[in-house]
Symmetry: C2
Subunit: 714 residues, 2 copies
Amino acid sequence: MPDNPLETIMAPRSIAVAGASNNPTKMGTIQYLNLLHSGFPGPVYPLHPKEKEVFGAKAYARIEDLPEVPDLAMLVVPGRVVPDMIERFGALGTRHAVIITAGFKETGPEGLDREKELNQAARAHGLRFLGPNCMGLVNTHLPLNVTAAPLVSPPGNLGLISQSGTYITQTLKYLHEKGVRLSKAASVGNEASIDLVDVLEYLGEDPQTRAIGMYIECIRRPDRFLDAARRIAPHKPIIAQYVGGTASGARSGSSHTGALAGPDDIYDGLFRQAGILRANSIEDVYRVGQALSTQPLPRGKRVAILTNSGGPGTAMADTLDRLGMEMPAFSPSLQSKLGALLPGHASAANPVDLTFHVDMTLMVQTLPETILASDEVDALLIHGIMDTGWADLAYPVFKDIFNMSQEEFRKGMQANVENLIKMPSRCNKPVIVSSFFGRNDHAARSLQDGGIPVFDSPEKAAAAMAALNAYREIQARPKDVAPAGNPSSSKARPIWEKAADRGWDEFRAKEMLRAYKIPTCREILAKSKADAIDAAKAIGYPVAVKGCHTSLAHKTELGVVHLDLVSADGVAAACAAIRDKSPDADFLVCEMVSGHREFIAGVHRHPGFPPCVLFGLGGVLTEALEETAIRLAPLRRSEALEQIAAIRAQPLLDAYRGWPAVDREALADILVRIGLLALDFPQIEAIDLNPILIRDGQPVVVDALFEQEKSIGH
Amino acid sequence: MPDNPLETIMAPRSIAVAGASNNPTKMGTIQYLNLLHSGFPGPVYPLHPKEKEVFGAKAYARIEDLPEVPDLAMLVVPGRVVPDMIERFGALGTRHAVIITAGFKETGPEGLDREKELNQAARAHGLRFLGPNCMGLVNTHLPLNVTAAPLVSPPGNLGLISQSGTYITQTLKYLHEKGVRLSKAASVGNEASIDLVDVLEYLGEDPQTRAIGMYIECIRRPDRFLDAARRIAPHKPIIAQYVGGTASGARSGSSHTGALAGPDDIYDGLFRQAGILRANSIEDVYRVGQALSTQPLPRGKRVAILTNSGGPGTAMADTLDRLGMEMPAFSPSLQSKLGALLPGHASAANPVDLTFHVDMTLMVQTLPETILASDEVDALLIHGIMDTGWADLAYPVFKDIFNMSQEEFRKGMQANVENLIKMPSRCNKPVIVSSFFGRNDHAARSLQDGGIPVFDSPEKAAAAMAALNAYREIQARPKDVAPAGNPSSSKARPIWEKAADRGWDEFRAKEMLRAYKIPTCREILAKSKADAIDAAKAIGYPVAVKGCHTSLAHKTELGVVHLDLVSADGVAAACAAIRDKSPDADFLVCEMVSGHREFIAGVHRHPGFPPCVLFGLGGVLTEALEETAIRLAPLRRSEALEQIAAIRAQPLLDAYRGWPAVDREALADILVRIGLLALDFPQIEAIDLNPILIRDGQPVVVDALFEQEKSIGH
């Protein structure tokens, strides 16, 4: 990653702030003051056309007056002056900027022109910038904060990239209260120069960032994004929320950053392919990001639950189970070790249920120690740690009895969580806590500050644990690369040339598939009834005869498909019937493929995206069940296998009802190859292989439809 | 609901507490002190064998010494003395108790014996009790609190019923911080006398409870529960979390309250049938319960979003869309009204995006007013209201500049939310707010205290709004009643008698179905080849011939099903082949039903539950897709229709690929009637109608399998 612009933007030596004034209600002033307050160690120069001083600091009227070439220019000024200022910063030698100002392409044609002007000015000087229409960035380790909200948390290890500025400003206090600690965060705004891929690549290499969270409304360079995420995900977890794929979401998104929203299924496929964990809410991004950036990964799915109450333990177990985790029953020897420590009615099985106890010693020391030391579990969930939170609640009831100050009462209740804090790294096993008490509670606060996540519900804690395991599984995925070889022989080009002239009919489409070594049913194209009868004989009865013509797309509905013909008479009758419906059609004589399992594979194009390869249940049920998964071409073989494994109807792919298991490798070949085909011939708008029947476990393409982009030709 | 025991338990005039002592670390003492501290208005009598006084109050050594017959006895004493104490309270005349003590059936055989003893003692005196092994109850309106945690919130309107005590104790402070206000809450423990149905029936009638939240691990009286919920749900919303249907969850559950866990699908069906909203976490129970207990219902799906930031607005829109809500674009006239109020780059479409502003006037007054006054929306979501929370955050940065105390700075930022608080009831439209600032923020706190939910994420706010609409849809469901008539004629009993003797084969099973007016394919049972050929002629070719015998369950796999026979020769060959495999089989000659859509209907039994009626995709895909929905018999007609509408593959039920729409009423008839059949003949363990084919839109049962309970006979 040579010269990633974020290197300087996240760690400039000096900053000029255009838009800082002595009016503390102005955005520029607020962000300037936050920058100073954050403790940024370098010089900061306020720029203002009129002010001589800004809150005691010398202000500069013109960029050219600055005492040095600032590493970073920050602009919070009216939109109309932005392009010119960037031009002048560029001329001065500044190569990096953050442009907070809004009113660019997100507002319409006039703004779009202004954004073009801005880009031109920047490009002329090789200047890279974040924004416009963004909320800036945070680097807790420098520290540096140019957002509208003051930094409140100490440095941490979760990096954030957001297409909404709110999620790195309005939420800073919220994050502090949840114990979530950021490393670096950027609001990317309109992404006119630097986009989320740049930030992703930067955070991927950043040693202070252990996990990356993203809020996404639109990915502008999906191929580059996929490459970057594929590279990063095996060594650093990425969790992303995507919104905007739904109809209403899309409208809101475009009013916001001018983002073009893409459909949810494509993003979902992209995330899975890239090895990105998908979050359903911004809370999940933060929460799972917190777990991923603080905890070691479990080495397996086996989770122990320790609780002081049955309900939360049951809820954790239920959540784990739904998410495919395991909660093994403890061995008799571990149960007896634990039982020796436990009070009366407590259960030493998994979950270990202490029952309600105000003394936390068992829960934060002896029991976790014993559980984590065993090799029976890979991870530990604890519910119910609390001390001063409970004390504060109880104090009004007990104050007259104990004759203690609240502070003394609190002190008496404080749990010693120091050992527990050390356990994850000492045992190399993750620990996640759930408690209904937040940072007002000494134990919760100490755990969070010690790097152990404390979530406010058992379900959230359990789901975060499952996410750690999901990331372990991503790490364990095969490390194959994109298919270098392309099975297409010299045959593909001539087929393409003919189709470009005359269009695609079923026969030509399947010819092309065969050129890519994709298995189709055996078939012969016949021009006449007599030829068709000969063809049927050559193939062997029973056969199917279909009308074949570039104009015949939905053949069954048109009545030009005749199946299960067992004689020359049948073939002749079929030919007559076809000619009746479609006088120009040829006859495609195909072997009958008997197979009960029907799948679909296909390709369609989404603006800006690589070809989208689809796999799913085919045949009659295609539209009724919409059981499909999408990945982007070119697919790696392992990705195609994973795509096949992503649909719900897995039993159909295994040995089922006396039929053999489907050859998944052969199916994967088809998916990889139609992706290559679509990359080789971008003028093919869509590919539809439906159904693909399974004969003796092998996929056979029985029908194929190619759609050519109308306007372009070849 | 005459004499619901909760009437007294929730509002006793006097209470005796056994187990209160001068040791403040004892549970009994803690609960006693909480009871006093809660402000319970009646007399409370501590009972203790040795203490003369308990924290200054006269203590009683023996129940018989009490100065009056207490309305309620609360027991926090060793398990071994519980039965005797209940006996003595009963003898004294006390008719209600709360038994906190654990160590009963949840601990094994000895505990089970003790629980039986307890039940005997109670029943002898007509004494009803909550528990044992529970955490007590709360009535914020009396007030009364006998739990281990002090009451901290003022009275509210959300009732809670929990099979885990934690959710009404450890969470009381959490609930306060979220602004969730309870009316009454009960922890039901082992449910030896009073179970969750009793509490549900009580809260259903309770005027102080506007919505009911439930945490459920096991329902012990599902039929009664279904009846109660059906009665309550149309006028009072119920939201419930169920855990324990999964393997690990079940283990944890039984270690907790001795609950027998039931499978998730059955509970899911029961909830839907009863009109209960299902929650996935306890947080959802509280959160959706808060919305339901404070807000008017929307009159439709149209939601307006008002935000000060694009991301949360987009996320809300996305969540609404996923949940089937609508976010209509505003009319030009409404947009121009709003536009006149908005600053520069703000969007007046829906979402209305104010962009970042510290002044809240627009957001809490003028804009909501204008939006809610229009008839273009049914509900309003707002993101970003905040005042002193933001002030506290900014103060350290600005304190030297403004030369103000923090209190003054805060005051200056305070938003006036009083108007907003009045809007839901004035406009009769719900308002839900999302903010990343909690109760430390004056605006958030004031809104919560004024009855407007403030959630800490846009997605949660949007999901709660969708839940309000989901409840509106439950209210709008048809109010039909269970089928009073039963179509079974006098024919059913003789069929049953025969089957009880000889077992069920396919023919007899279908005879029974026909007795219940369930449509099957036409068919004739033949004893010989010749009879079969005659039968085929009578039915008309093509026919199917199947081996028919009580021992033949999976006929296709056994090779005794011969389809599409077109001649007497074919029938003869089929008969020979069948006899080959199964010498004792008769021949069932059936018409061939051609239909591409295959469904399954069936009944199975789950311990303690009414017959579970299943509907789903049938045929080859049954096990591969597991696309099914379950309801409990007897089904109302509307419930059967709703069950049919619950599976994902709805397009298959509508007009599809040239086939007519399926007659849903006829399918519903089948579901209602197999439920009645299962109720009439409890010895039939399972019913399997698979496939049900659709011919000209009409369902036809093509194959049927009945399983008889082996051990019982008739």
